[in-house]
């Protein structure tokens, strides 16, 4: 029974004693934006209120338990009602709550005001990666977890940012108001970066608004926080905040790369290069469902290896990948993979794991399918 005290003391001690570092440690991170600091303050205020109430309440309780035990000869008193006391202990908590609600309301209003942003980023959740569109800039990136499978399986030592690292972070400028528009292409995901105190669900078919203004350059890590299927635990969010000039340079470079990528569609591609590229696409995008060796997870996710019906029907293969299968987890990839990637991954699938069709799918043909 004495545990109540011990726990409260432990909690109080710990929160003071441990320095607050970013997204590690024992407590909520203070974070790197005004909003995150406001939230942290709210958190600490309510925490201390609870501690104080806890000390008083448990104090009286343990006092009674020690003082009024029968073994010490206590004799029960008779009283069982006292209107004044009861009114007081209804009113005081109420007032405390009102006091609490005032700063909370202010912070919430601020968090909801996404107007006058400098940049708009559309964040789309996919099973299981994030897509970032810099709206009005024609730059789109896909952000996949980059932790190797071997680390997860335990056959390789786990790195410092195990599970919290991606191939392409969301790059943002500091000191700018960024409006974040979240949505999803399949199930509900939730985009969360503790250091920014931004957590917003990504709802398929709807768009949610939130915003942030980052104070310090740095790399901030978070995760998807809404159960979104099998690899929900492997869908990290990484934000790389940098100074405006760096950001501008990065954005310009990105635009060029996108243009170059578009150019690749027109040329004739060979089997080797498509398979090589397709293997990468497969590993980052498709393997989560259809598995590393194409064996799938029947009956939910069909096998692609040794799938004779599929190998006999090239058109259907392309159609499924381009348009998806409606009403199933198989999404349409025409909007999320480039024509080159689609051609590459289909070619790869038709020439891997014992599927030896020798088929080569040209990006130009895919392009023609998507935008006739």
């Amino acid at each position: 029974m004495r545990k109540g005290f011990a726990l409260a003391a432990l909690l109080a001690g710990l929160s003071g004693q441990f320095p607050i570092s970013h997204a590690t440690g024992w407590n909520m991170p203070v974070g790197v934006s005004q909003v995150s600091r406001d939230v942290y303050d709210l958190h600490m205020i309510i925490f201390w209120i609870c501690v104080v109430i806890g000390v008083v309440v448990f104090g009286v309780m343990f006092y009674s338990l020690f003082r009024y035990r029968r073994s010490k000869g206590a004799k029960a008193a008779e009283f069982h009602e006292h209107t004044t006391v009861e009114v007081v202990w209804t009113a005081i908590p109420f007032l405390i709550l009102v006091a609490m609600a005032i700063p909370a309301t202010a912070t919430l209003k601020n968090m909801y005001d996404a107007s006058e942003a400098d940049y708009d980023v559309m964040i789309t959740g996919h099973q299981w990666r994030w897509q970032y569109d810099y709206m009005g800039e024609d730059v789109t990136l896909f952000s996949n977890m980059s932790t190797p499978k071997a680390q997860i399986a335990g056959t390789e030592e786990k790195g410092e940012h195990y599970l919290l690292e991606v191939d392409e972070p969301l790059v943002l400028p500091v000191d700018r108001k960024i409006r974040l528009l979240t949505t999803s292409a399949d199930v509900i995901h939730s985009w969360w970066v503790p250091d920014l105190a931004v957590k917003k669900d990504a709802i398929p078919g709807f768009v949610n608004e939130s915003w942030t203004r980052i104070d310090e350059p740095g790399i901030y890590r978070g995760q998807c926080t809404e159960l979104c299927g099998k690899d929900h635990g492997f869908m990290p969010v990484v934000v790389h905040a940098m100074e405006q000039e760096q950001f501008d340079a990065w954005l310009a470079e990105r635009k060029q790369a996108a243009a170059a990528e578009a150019g690749g569609v027109d040329r004739e591609w060979g089997l080797e290069e498509l398979v090589e590229r397709g293997e990468k696409v497969y590993a980052t995008v498709c393997a989560s469902c259809h598995q590393a060796e194409g064996q799938g997870l029947p009956p939910t996710f069909p096998a692609l290896a040794g799938n004779q019906a599929l190998m006999d029907d090239l058109d259907r293969h392309i159609d499924v990948v381009v348009n998806g299968v409606s009403g199933s987890a198989m999404a349409s990839f025409s909007g999320t993979l480039s024509p080159v990637d689609i051609a590459a991954v289909v070619t790869f699938e038709r020439n891997a794991w014992g599927n030896e069709t020798g088929d080569v799918v040209q990006p130009a043909d895919i392009q023609a399918l998507i935008a006739p």
């Binding site: 590690t24 609870c50 009286v60 009024y68 209804t90 335990g154 195990y162 669900d201 809404e226």
Partner: protein, 548 residues
């Protein structure tokens, strides 16, 4: 509602002819059956109560074993034991089984046993319906568990089964999951109807509503909550069924629906549901503490009003589970304020319990130990609930282990401890023997230590950023998880002691008199221990009875 007492003479028979009825071959089953068939066909509230309690214990073990699978996988970072698909099924099934299979039937079992005894009724109002309510449960849960063996596996979308993960993207077995939940829902509704009818109609003459024990009161209000919200759950899973099998668009924006609609409907059920799991616990603690403090419950009337206030408020707070889904600002504020308000009536309860202890004459038998631990640990869980209610802060807490810590504090050392307290408290009445006090203490202390080691570190893991429902986690959460897992096994295996105590007590032990606890004053302690199969066949005379 005005206090009403049924007229003493309740013998007026229906007017219709009674002679001709025997002519059409009606045979009344006069004798009690023996053997296993007796348990299958029983209409006796005590036997049905025992069936519920046994079922609940079995489900607690199964759900607990699943939790231990979860804890085993989370013992250290990396995927060791199981694959993510199976992990999700374990999380989902654990939540569903504990909520619908362990805690709710546990409380219903106690209600069946104790409500007729505490109000001086011969049985439940509708005894056959009572048996039907029970037998739906094993059928429903057998079906639910069998989904784990179906192609594609069982439900893997969390106990909250948000669409579209639970519709378009769900395994084929989801249809069976829906039907299992339908059956559990029917069982709950019918059980609740029975409880209300019993309490309102079968009180012994002379017992007014404000004479009832708090256990009966809290159950009356809980039953009302059940009847109000279980149909909403039935409705929303029916809509899922249509989305899955008939191509409707309720939760699909492409056709004009909205996935968030699912969440509104679910939580309109779901939030009152969590109070369904705590109000009877309040009732139990409110009868145990006065007994062992040997002092009348402080503030009986305010306890009743507080319970009612909590129940009413519980219909107005549901979207506090949805702060991060992008509600309009006004909605967000409304639900934040209403949620905060719930702390007021709950605080009244806590203060009343503590004032009951104040200047009492306290002893620490096992039921009392569990009840006291309930007060402390539930309050800690309530505090974290209050933190969650602060919407801007909930953006940081939501869907992290901080939430997992919160609800396990209110559910495990809350609801589950209260059920254990009740079992220790009423075992003498049920079996005629006292439970072994020494083993009971061992069970208690191991449980208290285990449960805190299990759930306290989850606060830190959550604040540090660990999301819930993940099979693997980043390295900075490793220590917290290891501690939790050790605590989980300690707590889990301590429950074997509990089973041992119960079995031992059923088989024998120190004989208990009619009033097993010297501070106990409620009506159930006036009948012999063990309570005979039939009690209060003629209503007790309460003219000289001192209520609470």
């Amino acid at each position: 509602m005005a206090p009403q007492s049924p007229p003493k003479a309740t013998l007026e028979h229906s007017q219709s002819a009674s002679g001709s009825a025997t002519a059409d071959g009606f045979q009344e089953e006069h004798h009690y059956r023996s053997g296993p068939l007796r348990w299958l066909l029983t209409t006796n509230h005590k036997e049905i109560g025992s069936l519920y309690l046994i079922f609940s214990l079995a489900m607690f073990m199964i759900g607990g074993a699943m939790a231990l699978v979860i804890r085993l996988e989370l013992f250290q970072p990396g995927l060791q034991m199981i694959q993510p698909e199976f992990f999700n099924q374990m999380t989902t099934m654990h939540g569903l089984i504990m909520v619908f299979g362990a805690v709710m039937p546990g409380f219903v079992g106690l209600a069946n046993w104790m409500i007729p005894l505490q109000i001086g009724a011969p049985d439940m109002a509708l005894p056959r319906l009572n048996n039907f309510s029970f037998w739906l449960l094993p059928i429903a849960f057998t079906l639910l568990l069998s989904t784990l063996l179906m192609p594609g596996g069982g439900p893997n979308f969390g106990w909250t089964f948000y669409a579209p993960l639970s519709t378009t993207y769900a395994p084929p077995s989801t249809t069976f999951f829906i039907f299992a939940l339908h059956m559990a829902g029917i069982s709950s509704i019918l059980g609740a109807i029975n409880i209300i009818a019993t309490i309102l109609n079968l009180r012994a003459p002379g017992m007014r509503l404000m004479d009832m024990t708090l256990f009966v009161w809290t159950w009356l209000i809980t039953a009302f909550l059940l009847i109000a919200v279980m149909p909403v759950l039935a409705g929303v899973i029916t809509m899922m069924l249509l989305d899955i099998n008939f191509g409707t668009s309720f939760f699909n924006a492409a056709g004009g629906g909205d996935p968030v609609l699912f969440q509104h409907l679910f939580w309109f059920f779901g939030h009152p549901e969590v109070y369904i799991m705590i109000l009877p616990a309040f009732g139990i603690v409110s009868v145990i503490i006065p007994t062992f403090a040997r002092k009348r419950l402080f503030g009986y009337a305010s306890m009743v009003y507080a319970t009612a206030a909590i129940a009413i408020l519980s219909f107005l707070v549901w979207a506090h589970h949805m702060f991060a889904v992008g509600l309009p600002l006004v909605a967000e504020l409304f639900f934040m304020y209403t949620t905060l308000l719930i702390a007021v009536p709950t605080g009244v309860k806590v203060f009343n319990w503590i004032t009951t202890l104040f200047r009492g004459e306290i002893t620490f038998e096992t039921p009392m130990l569990f009840a006291l631990a309930f007060v402390v640990l539930f309050t800690i869980g309530g505090f974290s609930g209050l933190m969650l209610a602060i919407a801007p802060a909930d953006f940081q807490y939501h869907d992290t282990y901080f939430v997992v810590a919160h609800f396990h504090y209110v559910l495990v050392p809350g609801a589950v401890f209260s059920i254990m307290a009740a079992v220790y408290y009423w075992l003498p009445k049920w079996t005629g023997h006292y439970p072994d006090e020494r083993l009971g203490r061992w069970h208690f202390w191991l449980s208290v230590i285990g449960v805190n080691l299990l759930f306290f570190p989850m606060h830190f893991a959550g604040l540090a950023g660990m999301p819930r429902r993940i099979p693997d986690y980043a390295l900075q959460f490793a220590d917290f998880n290891m501690a939790s897992s050790i605590g989980g096994f300690l707590f889990g295996f301590s429950q074997l002691l509990f089973i041992w105590v119960v079995v031992k007590c059923v088989r024998g032990g120190v004989k208990a008199p009619a009033n097993a606890w010297d501070g106990a004053t409620d009506l159930e302690w006036t009948v012999p221990s063990p309570a005979p199969l039939h009690t209060f066949e003629t209503p007790p005379d309460l003219r000289d009875f001192k209520f609470h």
